[in-house]
């Protein structure tokens, strides 16, 4: 049974989002995703300042087993990346919600409303 915090938003492609006070969103992959991938050994993050359309490939996480694309959960510009997960990919396995990948400034803040809540994500990830 994977962990799905109630205070986050989710995508069907297994990203989580946290809305920050400054209007940016912090993005990571869910506990369900890290468990399915197994031990992570490589993370590739986007450039700060780069803009992405929603659902475009924005990052890559690789486990021993497989490579998986991470998709931009909404349109926006990358404001910050978490170098600590590049240096220690296993931190995502240890706590997928602490080991965030990047922060985005959404093009339209309202896009967040269209994403899944915890209950809806729980239902599709079982």
């Amino acid at each position: 049974m994977s962990n799905v915090p109630a205070n986050l938003k989710y995508t069907a492609s297994h990203e989580w989002l946290l809305l920050n006070a400054d209007g940016t969103v912090t993005v990571g992959i869910t506990d369900h995703a890290q468990e399915a991938l197994g031990d992570l050994v490589f993370v590739e993050l986007p450039e700060v300042g780069a803009s992405f359309e929603a659902e475009k490939e924005i990052a890559v996480v690789e486990s021993v087993k497989a490579a998986a694309d991470v998709y931009a959960p909404l349109a926006g510009e990358v404001t910050e990346v978490n170098q600590a997960v590049v240096d220690a990919p296993e931190s995502v396995n240890q706590d997928a919600y602490a080991a965030w990948l990047f922060k985005l400034k959404p093009t339209n803040a309202a896009d967040l409303d269209a994403l899944l809540d915890a209950a809806a994500y729980q239902a599709i990830s079982e």
């Binding site: 468990e35 197994g38 490589f42 590739e44 690789e62 021993v64 087993k65 490579a67």
Partner: protein, 363 residues
């Protein structure tokens, strides 16, 4: 409907993550694939490989039949219990399967073939036996009343753990050099494996497999899934059928020339094709120098033309990505090449196709 081994419930009881592996519901890990990998390199781990298919061959013509059926030469099997790794080829010289042949007596051999190819292999063997009018009876031992389970116990402490749990087998197995088997009561214990470590592969009546699995687990042997099995065999430079070779690939281009015996009078299926084609590619290792993970099917760019990765992953022993690759002739060990990973060209070094064995790095 996925097929299940006799140990399916035991895996679930250990909270295994189960995956569809070629139609079999198999454990990929029991938590951490990397920890399982290290357990085998440094201590002892066990794998359920009951999806693989033991095939018993009996009859007066076992030797002439096998001599013609497979690319390696069963004449090398002189001592009872000795095992031989070989490819079984089609007429075009492609690999139908790779397998291990155990010599028991001149009229009794046991062969273990891959899970996904078992039906195809058995049909091929039966057809050749009929065509060549050989006196051999070929019986699969994976399914049905006489089914066997197979547990591979691997690692530097594997033998000691097996003797702790099955003390009655110690006398017959402690003298086994690598690639031999001994039969003790209902147990067929072979000093073979797919990890690059010492250990045993134990075949036993399927109904007794779960009790042995649980006893080994209680003795501290770490259950290990197919994930660790793959990284262990990759580090050890052992080919995986379906990835590193298949029916379209010559064993000479898949690093298996050492298992093909071409220089005797003996004829075997595929020999003419291999002799005519010769070696077209070389099978070597790659060590990724940049950050990333090498994977099967990635393109390798060399000064002598392009090659292809056949198996790639992250090496838990080297803490670096490694791969097995089919490269153009002319590429030398030590050369720097480039690998196309999602459109980026990353640097890799060509190595011999063995990375780690017996607990340590060998490159």
């Amino acid at each position: 409907m996925l097929k299940k081994t006799i140990l399916n419930a035991a895996h679930r009881a250990l909270n295994a993550r189960m995956v569809d592996f070629g139609g079999w519901d198999m454990p990929v890990n029991y938590g951490s694939q990397i920890e399982e990998h290290h357990a085998v390199r440094n201590d002892c781990g066990m794998f359920d490989v009951s999806h693989m298919c033991p095939v018993d061959m009996v009859g007066a013509d076992c030797r002439p039949f096998l001599s013609r059926l497979v690319a390696n030469d069963v004449a090398k099997l002189k001592v009872s219990g000795k095992a031989l790794y070989s490819a079984m080829l089609n007429e075009a010289g492609g690999v139908i399967d790779d397998l291990i042949i155990y010599f028991l007596t001149d009229t009794r051999f046991r062969i273990v073939v891959n899970a996904g190819t078992a039906e195809k292999d058995l049909a091929w063997m039966q057809a050749r036996a009929a065509e060549w009018q050989m006196d051999v009876t070929i019986t699969q031992r994976r399914d049905g009343d006489n089914a066997l389970g197979i547990i591979a116990v691997q690692g530097p402490n594997a033998r000691a753990k097996v003797w702790q749990v099955l003390p009655q087998t110690k006398a017959a197995t402690e003298g086994l050099k690598a690639f031999f088997a001994a039969e003790v009561d209902q147990y067929f214990i072979a000093s073979t494996g797919y990890t690059g470590e010492d250990g045993y592969e134990i075949m036993l009546p399927a109904a007794e497999a779960e009790a042995l699995w649980n006893a080994l687990n209680a003795a501290g042997v770490a259950p290990c899934g197919l994930g660790a099995r793959d990284t262990l065999r990759l580090e050890a430079g052992m080919n995986l059928y379906g990835q590193d070779m298949d029916e379209t690939v010559s064993p000479l281009d898949a690093g298996l020339a050492w298992t093909v015996s071409l220089n005797t009078e003996r004829d075997f299926v595929g020999k003419a094709a291999l002799t005519a084609a010769g070696q077209q590619k070389q099978f070597l290792g790659l060590l990724l120098l940049d950050k990333g993970v090498l994977r099967g099917h990635q393109k390798v760019i060399t000064a002598h033309g392009d090659g292809e990765i056949t198996s790639g992953s992250f090496s838990p022993t080297l803490q670096q990505s490694i791969a097995l690759a089919r490269l153009p002739l002319g590429v030398q060990i030590g050369d720097e090449v480039e690998v196309d990973i999602r459109g980026k060209l990353l640097k890799a070094k060509v190595t011999k196709p063995v990375f780690a064995r017996n607990g340590k790095a060998v490159i």
